[in-house]
């Protein structure tokens, strides 16, 4: 027993691990909550696109010296708007619009990065995350944003569910379904930006989708899914962080593998129960 306690608390004597754990837990909570909508409404590709297209925002943040979390959020929300706007105005399918913006903005970000060599950022930190490098300030901003997203989701739960389940019915009774969709995408963009700190641009999709999908398998209904998700999320991100500490592996991929492992266990467990 003592061993386990030591295993858990020893790393926390290092300030960077304590800060990393705080951010990991916050991300573990918020990703599956917004992820429940992403999974049920089939927005995974959209989420992945927002994550990649955010790159210019991150680079600009480093350039002008503000927290990348702050500079990337307006870009993320803008992208969410642009995707909806492009498919509405051109008649192109949504995934085509996503594909165009996804690649275009990601490429733009890479070029910005190569043009401004003065900025000392590690591309692999952006792509794969570097939770061990978060500052006190990052924790504060992350915590504040998590609270804002949670409160918004709770406040508009009824309306977001209606618009997602039966959009036509929702607009007939007068709900502004387009606005609600933009709200959801905007919140998703916020969550993606804060999660990039931990798992990076490429793997953020895993955090958005996998814990929520695991909760979907375990929960009886949508509300319970949104409540179970954070438990799974916290276990996964903490597990990933500790494995990264003890085995000296990158934290983003470790967290991602932990979520996938929990998902796999759940699938196997459900099958065993059924038999």
């Amino acid at each position: 027993m003592d061993n386990i306690i030591n295993l858990l608390f020893d790393p926390l004597q290092y300030g960077f691990m304590l800060r990393a754990l705080a951010v990991s837990i916050l991300i573990g909570i918020i990703c599956p909550v917004i992820g429940s909508y992403v999974v049920i409404r089939g927005l995974a590709f959209m989420g992945d696109a927002i994550a990649h297209a955010i790159l210019p925002g991150l680079v600009i943040g480093f350039l002008i010296g503000v927290s990348p979390v702050v500079s990337a959020i307006p870009v993320g929300i803008l992208i969410a708007f642009l995707i909806g706007y492009l498919s509405r105005k051109t008649g192109l399918s949504e995934d085509t619009s996503i594909g165009i913006l996804f690649a275009g903005l990601f490429a733009f970000g890479l070029i910005l990065l190569s043009l401004f060599k003065s900025v000392r950022i590690n591309l692999s930190d952006i792509l794969l995350g570097q939770v061990l490098g978060v500052s006190q300030n990052d924790i504060m901003i992350t915590g504040l944003l998590v609270i804002i997203v949670l409160i918004t989701l709770i406040a508009f739960h009824k309306e977001l569910v209606f618009a997602g389940f039966d959009p036509q019915g929702a607009s007939i009774i007068g709900l502004p379904t387009n606005l609600l969709d933009y709200l959801l995408l905007g919140l998703t963009a916020v969550v993606i930006v804060i999660s990039i700190q931990a798992v990076g641009v490429i793997l953020v999709m895993a955090m958005l989708v996998t814990p929520a999908a695991t909760a979907y398998l375990l929960a009886r209904n949508f509300k319970i899914m949104m409540l179970i998700g954070p438990i799974i999320g916290i276990i996964a991100t903490s597990l990933g962080l500790y494995s990264s500490f003890y085995w000296n592996i990158p934290s983003g991929p470790a967290m991602t593998l932990a979520t996938v492992a929990l998902f796999t266990l759940t699938v196997v467990f459900k099958r065993m129960i059924r038999n």
Partner: protein
């Protein structure tokens, strides 16, 4: 492109009206216009003499099954509660009264036992009854059902018709769009025959003349209907 042209009609309340026509006749377009989802290029639509904007909430809609995201893990009660949205208002939570209304609406359509079941696990007929319960919870006086009977077996169709008839007896108006005449036509008080324009409006026995049927379904459709017994 004109989908519908020269569509003028008046319907009294308390009637069950079949909106009948082939696929592509403009039934869904007509419904969308009545429901305020699209606005007519010319002319106007009034409900109880008022434009839609003032009657919002008085119209309830039972959508085509494929327009709904069935992956959403909502319970039957959750779906009926959506009908209370306008009465509850933004952000606020349902009251006990709302919950009571939901359970009594589920009872009226014979789903009181299924309140906690996920919509995914309901049959086609039960899903239609569920949406009727949602319309009841909304306290709407006009119900529009789009292809409500497709994917529903004949026995369940009877059950649905009975529920709808009890609603018209209470003075509610029910409009049902359908392309299928075989089982249902004689159950309507009125049929509105639609194929880009109004071909006929009246009781089924008077409306389905050979000329109207030919206009709706062409010569081929006419023979088809005659084989299955003229409605």
């Amino acid at each position: 492109m004109r989908v519908l042209d020269d569509v003028s009609f008046i319907i009294d309340h308390g009637l069950m009206v079949g909106v009948v026509g082939p696929n592509g006749a403009g039934k869904t377009t007509l419904f969308n216009a009545i429901l305020g989802l699209i606005s007519p290029t010319y002319g106007s639509i009034r409900i109880h003499g008022l434009p839609f904007s003032e009657m919002r909430g008085e119209l309830a809609y039972v959508p085509q099954q494929e327009k709904v995201n069935w992956r959403f893990p909502l319970t039957a009660s959750d779906v009926v509660m959506l009908g209370r949205q306008r009465k509850i208002g933004w952000v606020r939570r349902p009251s006990n009264e709302d919950k009571q209304i939901v359970s009594s609406c589920l009872e009226k359509v014979g789903l009181s036992e299924r309140g906690l079941d996920l919509v995914t696990n309901l049959s086609g007929g039960q899903r239609q009854r569920l949406f009727i319960a949602r319309a009841l919870a909304q306290e709407a006086h006009t119900l529009l059902l789009d292809e409500a009977f497709s994917g529903v077996d004949v026995a369940s169709q009877e059950g649905l018709i009975e529920i709808l008839q009890s609603l018209t007896n209470e003075g509610k108006t029910v409009l049902i769009a359908t392309h299928d005449l075989t089982n249902l036509a004689k159950r309507f008080d009125l049929v509105l025959c639609l194929n880009q324009h109004v071909c006929a409006l009246g009781p089924p026995s008077e409306s389905f003349t050979p000329a109207v049927l030919a206009e709706l379904y062409g010569a081929h459709g006419m023979s088809l209907i005659n084989e299955t017994g003229k409605p």
